[in-house]
């Protein structure tokens, strides 16, 4: 990690998560180093199975019981080493100073508990509010996240709400204690585009109003494009490129990022623009090739790529904020 100007709010160092599989174990997250400064929005993109959700779960302490975190892994939040804390100490941080919004709001919410009580519960547990104060605050939160008829919604069950409203309720719960970091894991993937735009606007607004940092995880490069300052691209458990969002989209140095951008159909293109598909199949995490995991699908791969794994390094021109894990990075057009 290059020495940051100020201590980052979240500093992940060499984080590895191993999951037992049928044959041996799978390194779902493999030596990830990433930091998020207070108030900053960082995007994390990658295709399904690349480990982005496992990374989020590791941050929140929600990993499955059989998962193993590597011995040299570190997660510092606000200067405190999360992995060294007792579960009890850790719970004073997660859910309160660090909250998460999940992809599927129906499974994230308790189906047999009224919305109002689900929000109040967080407030009473973490902030020790009494029932009446918690309900008042819950009402204000629903209003803040743009739920129409908030007073009536307090008494609704999740199944009575639409997908977009449910996600707003889930966001209200995440924001309840005024977290300093919000982890949003595919928050709009299950929603229609019209609703998606509204939810992303809401997240951006809350982030600005409360000077909250956000880690926005998505498989959709379009979701991350206009809403983050920095973006990390993940492939087969590793971060392969990390750069200011504008640079990453404008002049990607990683062949995989370039290939992803070229494979996306865009509204800006004329109809019937041929798409440059990425050949081959997504990596099989149980049988990763030696060297760079993307090498079998990479047009520019050479001998070294299939033998040695490239580290995440900053560019030769001393470009410290653009890091790429590639032996032969693109020079940028």
């Amino acid at each position: 990690m290059s020495p940051p100007r100020s201590t980052p709010l979240l500093a992940i160092g060499d984080l590895s998560v191993a999951l037992p599989a049928m044959q041996g174990c799978v390194r779902a997250v493999d030596g990830v180093t990433l930091s998020v400064t207070a108030g900053q929005a960082v995007g994390l993109v990658g295709e399904s199975g690349c480990g982005k959700s496992m990374l989020a779960k590791a941050l929140m302490g929600l990993l499955p019981r059989e998962a193993e975190i590597g011995p040299t892994s570190q997660i510092h939040f606000d200067g405190r080493p999360l992995l060294a804390l007792s579960p009890r100490e850790r719970r004073t941080i997660t859910g309160r100073k660090m909250a998460m919004v999940f992809q599927d709001p129906m499974t994230a919410l308790n189906p047999v508990m009224r919305v109002g009580r689900q929000i109040s519960e967080v407030l009473r547990h973490h902030l020790g509010l009494d029932r009446r104060a918690a309900r008042q605050r819950a009402l204000a939160l629903l209003r803040q996240v743009g739920v129409s008829m908030p007073r009536r919604r307090l008494d609704h069950y999740p199944h009575q709400l639409s997908g977009g409203l449910r996600q707003r309720v889930a966001i209200a719960i995440a924001l309840a204690c005024g977290p300093r970091l919000l982890i949003a894991d595919e928050p709009t993937t299950a929603l229609d585009v019209t609703v998606q735009a509204g939810i992303l606007d809401l997240l951006a607004r809350c982030q600005k109003a409360q000077a909250m940092a956000m880690l926005l995880i998505s498989h959709d490069l379009g979701v991350v494009a206009g809403r983050t300052q920095r973006t990390a691209v993940m492939y087969a458990g590793r971060i392969l490129e990390l750069a200011p969002t504008r640079k990453l989209f404008g002049k990607p140095r990683l062949p995989y990022t370039r290939a992803l951008l070229d494979a996306m159909p865009r509204l800006a293109n004329p109809p019937r623009t041929p798409l440059k598909a990425i050949g081959g199949q997504p990596p099989d995490m149980t049988h990763l090739p030696p060297g760079c995991a993307f090498a079998p699908r990479c047009r520019w791969a050479r001998g070294r790529c299939r033998v040695e794994t490239p580290p995440l390094e900053s560019g030769r021109g001393g470009d410290h904020d653009h890091r790429v894990a590639c032996w032969y990075p693109l020079e940028g057009a």
């Binding site: 609703v195 509204g198 606007d201 494009a225 206009g226 159909p265 109809p271 798409l275 598909a277």
Partner: protein, 328 residues
């Protein structure tokens, strides 16, 4: 696309199609409420709209997976809704469909070669050997390895490969119309492009006409000749792909376009400026224009009188009292 709509009789013509489902004794789900459109031979029609707008129901009715409540579906000069028994069986091979969840639409206990050959068995007139040979040829056509893959089970394949298998199976009967219901929505970007390119090439090779359902406007723009926009069981707008994306006439089309997230940080982020967030229930759709409850440009008349789908330019039809860019 004016050529295709003017010249020979269309391959498919859907006329005032209504599909309703009873909810209980008194209430009805109005899934599709009077939709009419035509599809020319070799044409690709995109069908877009939010979830619950009736696009999948419409597609299922077209391939006769469900019977419409009323209306007609003309395919090769016959009203397929009136067909029963043997004549319906005879027309089914020409109407095929692929689905969003390719893995779930394959029999998990059966080798994929057998699944691909199955439509020929159902159709009859082929012995086992010729079915297997045809299946192997089709596997190669969709980019699978017939030797290595024929005897494998679906779980051994990735999502993208399963969609290739489903496409192969759908094409075995040499259909004229292939309905694709969100075929790439569950796939990663890198694989999505492979499948879109594959569909485009197969369309040329086998002379297919496609109905392509998607919620992703960029995908639709990439593959379609014409696009129909649906909202709550009604068509809002139907136009050639250039016209629809360059000069959307219906406020709903414009809202969908504005909400699309483009992978371009220099473009202002997508906005969700629809009034209200809720798509109303198809059990009790709004009176007048069904979109008026969310329309940023709604006027009093919109909540009373339902707008007809009328032509605003050659090949462009819009159902709106106050179309946006009625140039032409």
């Amino acid at each position: 696309m004016s050529q295709t709509s003017a010249a020979p009789p269309p391959l498919l013509s859907v006329d005032r199609l209504v599909v309703e489902f009873p909810l209980d004794r008194r209430r009805t789900v109005h899934a599709v409420s009077g939709v009419s459109f035509r599809l020319g031979e070799g044409e690709t029609l995109g069908l877009v709209g939010e979830s619950g707008c009736g696009k999948s129901t419409l597609a299922r009715a077209v391939v006769q997976l469900l019977r419409p409540t009323s209306g007609k579906i003309w395919f090769r000069g016959e009203d397929v809704c009136r067909l029963r028994g043997e004549p319906l069986r005879a027309i089914r091979p020409h109407l095929q469909m692929i689905f969003q969840d390719a893995v779930a639409s394959l029999n998990p206990g059966r080798c994929v070669g057998g699944s691909i050959a199955e439509p020929l068995r159902v159709m009859g007139g082929h012995d086992r050997r010729s079915r297997d040979i045809a299946a192997r040829q089709m596997m190669v056509a969709v980019g699978l390895d017939a030797e290595r893959h024929f005897h494998r089970k679906p779980f051994e394949f990735s999502g993208g490969q399963c969609q290739r298998i489903c496409i192969a199976r759908a094409l075995m009967t040499r259909p004229q119309l292939l309905v694709c219901d969100e075929p790439v929505s569950a796939l990663d970007v890198s694989i999505q492009a492979q499948i879109l390119n594959l569909l485009a090439s197969l369309k040329e090779r086998y002379g297919l006409s496609l109905i392509f359902i998607s919620h992703d406007l960029a995908v639709v723009k990439n593959i379609c000749d014409r696009v129909a926009v649906m909202y709550l069981g009604k068509l809002c707008e139907i136009a050639a792909v250039d016209a629809l994306f360059n000069t959307p006439c219906h406020p709903y089309t414009a809202a969908l376009l504005a909400a699309h997230p483009e992978p371009d940080p220099d473009r202002p982020p997508a906005t969700g400026d629809l009034v209200g967030m809720e798509i109303p229930s198809p059990v009790d759709p709004p009176a007048g224009c069904r979109f008026h409850t969310r329309c940023p440009a709604a006027q009093p008349v919109c909540s009373v009188t339902e707008p007809d789908l009328r032509e605003v330019a050659t090949g462009s039809r819009v159902a709106c009292h106050f179309p946006l860019s009625a140039a032409g």
